[in-house]
């Protein structure tokens, strides 16, 4: 058995699926998970901010996310359809629509080493072209637009709408990131785009699945002497795995081992452990 498709897993019991979903990393906080579930149903709850009867401004569509103090969401009370979609987005990754890309990207930036994130605002509107507005410690504003497949027309339209949005909100973005599952090759990544008085060169972040990964999604990854235990399905490349470990460990000499098929096969025999990577992480 493997975790490639929801339909092909034999055990769809609540217990097993909840166990798997509980391994999704980084863990959702209560606030994050609330917005995620709202996005699933396209049904944002009314914000408590703003005066009664006043029309919501467009910036109010963007709500701060991930600032709720690290209290993790309770996943044991999910219904079957919620468990299914969580499995399909984060474990099997068989769902690759805009919503899936958006939340996988959000999970990714939580441990991305190049972004010193101060705040992240998520767009709660049902039809939107900007998904996140990230502010960094360096006071950079990063606009993120997520797509299942990035086409040239969409790319141009998003740039134009971002320019309008920035003008309306008196916002000066420093970077624009297009995140996508797939992209056409004709996206002009070297052409800069003017927003206000700032020239911005758009960035394309593709969901990267490394070929010949030294571990499988069904494997348990063990860092050093069980310092961390991670499910293989959380990481699509070695670099992705190393970034997460760097983010979540104390660094130093790191050895990563794998226990094959840990999440799909029960065995009474003593599990074999194989070395996947070893090296130094200096923090």
């Amino acid at each position: 058995m493997n975790l490639q498709f929801y339909e092909t897993i034999q055990d769809k019991s609540k217990k097993y699926l909840t166990y798997l979903i509980d391994q999704i990393l980084p863990k959702f906080t209560i606030g994050e998970f609330k917005y995620f579930l709202e996005d699933l149903t396209n049904n944002p709850t009314k914000t408590s901010k703003g005066t009664k009867g006043q029309k919501a401004k467009s910036t109010e569509e963007f709500i701060k996310i991930g600032d709720d103090g690290g209290k993790f969401a309770e996943l044991s009370k999910l219904d079957e359809s919620q468990r299914k979609i969580l499995f399909q987005i984060f474990i099997s990754r068989e769902v690759n629509d805009k919503m899936a890309v958006k939340w996988r990207f959000y999970q990714y930036i939580k441990y991305h080493l190049g972004l010193n994130i101060k705040t992240v605002k998520v767009n709660r509107a049902s039809k939107h072209f900007i998904d996140f507005i990230i502010e960094t410690d360096e006071k950079e504003i990063i606009i993120v637009s997520c797509h299942d497949i990035l086409e040239l027309n969409t790319f141009k339209e998003v740039l134009n709408q971002t320019a309008e949005f920035a003008k309306k909100q008196n916002l000066t973005p420093n970077r624009i990131i297009f995140s996508a599952c797939k992209s056409f090759r004709n996206i002009p990544l070297e052409e800069s785009f003017k927003i206000g008085n700032t020239e911005i060169t758009p960035e394309l972040w593709i969901e990267w699945i490394e070929e010949n990964l030294p571990y499988d999604r069904e494997d348990l990854l063990i860092v050093n002497n069980s310092e961390l235990k991670l499910a293989g399905f959380n990481f699509t490349s070695t670099e992705d795995l190393l970034n997460y470990i760097y983010h979540s460990s104390n660094g130093g000499q790191i050895s990563i081992f794998k226990q094959s098929d840990f999440f799909t096969e029960a065995s009474d025999n003593e599990a074999e452990i194989e070395l996947v990577w070893k090296g130094i992480m200096i923090k």
Binding site: F184, N212, P214, S237, E274, L275, W277
Partner: protein, 669 residues
């Protein structure tokens, strides 16, 4: 949940399912990193992994069909593979040299950084100084049209080899008939190395059919409708492989047809064509080195020291040098240089230096420098393609027509027989010159001077100088046959052509019919040999000759008729309505097979009659002394066997005696 920021180059060139559309191949770009696609040779644990540096070059030679090099382009990849599934390497340093680098920075070396397990980095270089690279093979193709109607004629001796090398050959097909063409192709290894996995591929255009390989067929020969591929395992230096291919073609249109390209591909194992050399590679991996310090049991403050170096990676590791200094870094305690005798350590192995003594009241500290590197292997490979341009088959077709102006002449009378023949070039190849041979039968004589011939083409009358006329036997005796041979534009060596494409040559001359006999049939068979230059824009006198015979086309013969005049004039008198009136009816009948012109008919009647009327114009004379009047009629033309009537009416003059007998008399003129 990994994402990767991609740049424009990666977006355009990277393979993989993340990008939609065809990737563009880019050369000359530096350093591309990706996972190794090649099968891993060693497992990650328990066996030795290796660093492989693969220098591969891809070159494409292009040659003109005459064997001269047209272009050479290519690029090379230096791919550094980390084959280990668990160990990284770092501080990777590569140095290489070669004439292919305009920027000699490469000689200073390049730092390639960290290699993750089972990954590689690719360094691409373009081959820029291609003109200094030697040819590796010579490819020759000889094309022969086996059609028996094509003869080869060589007017002068010349070096066959120079002919092939320096002159472009005109390849010929005959229009409207099946041509069997033989392609002889040879590939010679002119390099000093063995060429491996040689594949010789000859392409054919769709016009060809019945492709065949002459020789013993093996299962490796691939014959399709438009190419034949012949594999050769190895070709040693100086060795030549020759193949003969046959193909049929039936040109239906007046258009050139491609001869078909030749492609030769082969590998050079452990060799690159350019002079790129990997001079140095070094990288670190997991190793441990420590100085073991043991205070001697019976000598306080005397320390027995040694350095231990352990290879903790799964690569072979090479120890280059060890230098141990005291803590002041001024005094060398141990210096080992392994450049003469390399110390190679397998995974897990350790190396221990000899002991050295050191005196220190406290625990001694040392400064040490250990120079080591993972071992590596260099492999070279070159994949060469040789493209030989194709040429064109031109199609040849000449239509010959002959006319004799006088289809019939009179027998036994000397007359001129105006003759002309036309050579019409309907092919795509100019006709260099012609040789016309006409058999002139006895009783006729050919013209004996070149000035008696007139030459015309689409531009009008030609003033040709290169004309030779030969009559055999060279006499004026009409009792025997003569052969007229006219040689036009072939004797003098010059590049001009006689009949261009879509043009014609018309030759006019007059034969003399001396004593033609109507009892004989005379034919004037004409043979035209059209000469086509075998070489393009060359003065070399080697030709394809195609012979057309006028007998096969349009029979030219002359009818000799025994032409003599035969005329009958009849006269008949009819009484008129009144007793004094008479109608005179004259018939003129041309009983011959020749046309009679200006026929004059004159009649007389007595002066006792006067003329009433006539059906054609007449002339009437006065009464002569004999008392008669002459009436004359003129007939312009009497066609062969035509009969015409002349009728006039007379009336007796009142009071005069009628002399009927005189009415009956007549004569013609």
């Amino acid at each position: 949940m990994g994402f990767k920021k991609v740049n424009q180059d990666e977006l355009k060139t990277n393979g993989g399912p993340s990008f939609l559309g065809m990737p563009i191949r880019e050369v000359g770009k530096i350093v591309q990193t990706k996972k190794r696609e090649k099968k891993i040779d060693s497992s990650s644990l328990g066996s030795i992994s290796e660093i492989l540096i693969l220098n591969e070059e891809f070159l494409e030679y292009q040659f003109h069909d005459n064997g001269k090099r047209k272009a050479l382009a290519g690029y090379g990849n230096i791919v550094v593979f980390n084959n280990s599934l668990k160990d990284r390497i770092w501080d990777t340093f590569l140095k290489f040299t070669g004439t292919q680098f305009d920027n000699q920075d490469s000689e200073k070396g390049m730092h390639l950084g960290i290699f993750e397990p089972n990954s590689n980095k690719i360094l691409k270089y373009e081959i820029v100084n291609s003109e200094i690279l030697p040819d590796l093979v010579t490819v020759n193709e000889s094309i022969e049209n086996l059609n028996q109607d094509i003869k080869n004629v060589k007017n002068s001796d010349f070096d066959e080899e120079n002919t092939i090398n320096d002159n472009q050959i005109n390849h010929m097909l005959l229009l409207g008939i099946e041509n069997k063409v033989k392609f002889s192709i040879s590939v010679e290894n002119v390099s000093s190395t063995i060429l491996e996995n040689v594949k010789l591929k000859k392409q054919f255009s769709n016009n060809f059919y019945d492709l065949d390989f002459k020789g013993s067929l093996s299962k490796d020969i691939e014959i399709t409708s438009n190419y034949i591929e012949y594999p050769v395992k190895n070709l040693n230096p100086g060795e030549k492989v020759e193949i003969i291919l046959l193909a049929n073609i039936f040109p239906k249109k007046k258009e050139n047809i491609k001869t078909g390209r030749i492609e030769v591909s082969f590998n050079l194992k452990n060799q690159t064509i350019s002079e790129v050399e990997i001079n140095h590679f070094s990288a670190y991996s997991h190793a441990m080195h420590a100085i073991r310090k043991i205070e001697k049991e019976f000598a306080p403050n005397q320390w027995d020291c040694s350095l231990v170096f352990g290879n903790h990676s799964d690569f072979k590791m090479k120890l280059n040098s060890i230098l141990i200094l005291d803590k002041t870094k001024k005094n060398k305690l141990l210096e080992l240089d392994f450049s003469d005798k390399v110390v190679m350590m397998a995974p897990g192995e350790s190396y221990k230096t000899e002991h050295f003594d050191y005196q220190d009241e406290g625990e001694p500290t040392f400064s040490r420098k250990v120079d080591y590197s993972v071992d590596y292997k260099v492999e070279k490979n070159s994949m060469i393609t040789v493209q030989v341009e194709d040429n064109m088959f031109k199609v040849a077709n000449a239509i010959i027509k002959k006319k004799i102006a006088e289809r019939e002449i009179k027998s036994f009378e000397e007359s001129k027989v105006n003759t002309e023949f036309i050579v019409n070039n309907r092919g795509t190849m100019p006709i260099k010159g012609i040789v016309a041979k006409e058999r002139i039968p006895a009783d006729f004589l050919p013209p004996r001077e070149v000035s008696n011939f007139k030459f015309l083409n689409s531009s009008g009358e030609l003033k040709l100088e290169d004309i030779y006329l030969r009559i055999s036997p060279d006499d004026d005796d009409p009792t025997h046959e003569h052969v007229l041979e006219l040689n036009v534009n072939l004797e003098t060596n010059h590049g001009s052509t006689l009949i261009g494409v879509d043009d014609f040559l018309e030759v006019k001359y007059a034969l003399t019919a001396v004593t033609p006999n109507y009892e004989k049939d005379y034919d004037f068979p004409l043979e035209i040999q059209s000469y086509y230059s075998k070489f393009l824009e060359s003065e070399l006198e080697e030709y394809y000759v195609i012979t057309n015979n006028i007998v096969d086309m349009e029979k030219s013969s002359l009818k000799i008729t025994h032409k003599r005049r035969k005329l009958m004039i009849g006269k008949e008198i009819f009484p008129g309505r009144n007793s004094n009136e008479f109608a005179i009816y004259i018939t003129a009948k041309n009983g011959s097979n020749i046309k009679l012109s200006d026929v004059s008919v004159t009649d007389t009647f007595p002066d006792s009659f006067e003329l009433v009327s006539s059906n054609i114009d007449h002339k009437l004379s006065k009464v002569d002394k004999s008392g008669e009047r002459k009436i004359s009629f003129s007939l312009d033309i009497l066609q062969p066997y035509q009969e015409r009537e002349i009728m006039y009416y007379l009336k007796n003059i009142a009071g005069k005696e009628i002399r009927f007998s005189e009415l009956e008399s007549f004569f013609i003129g």
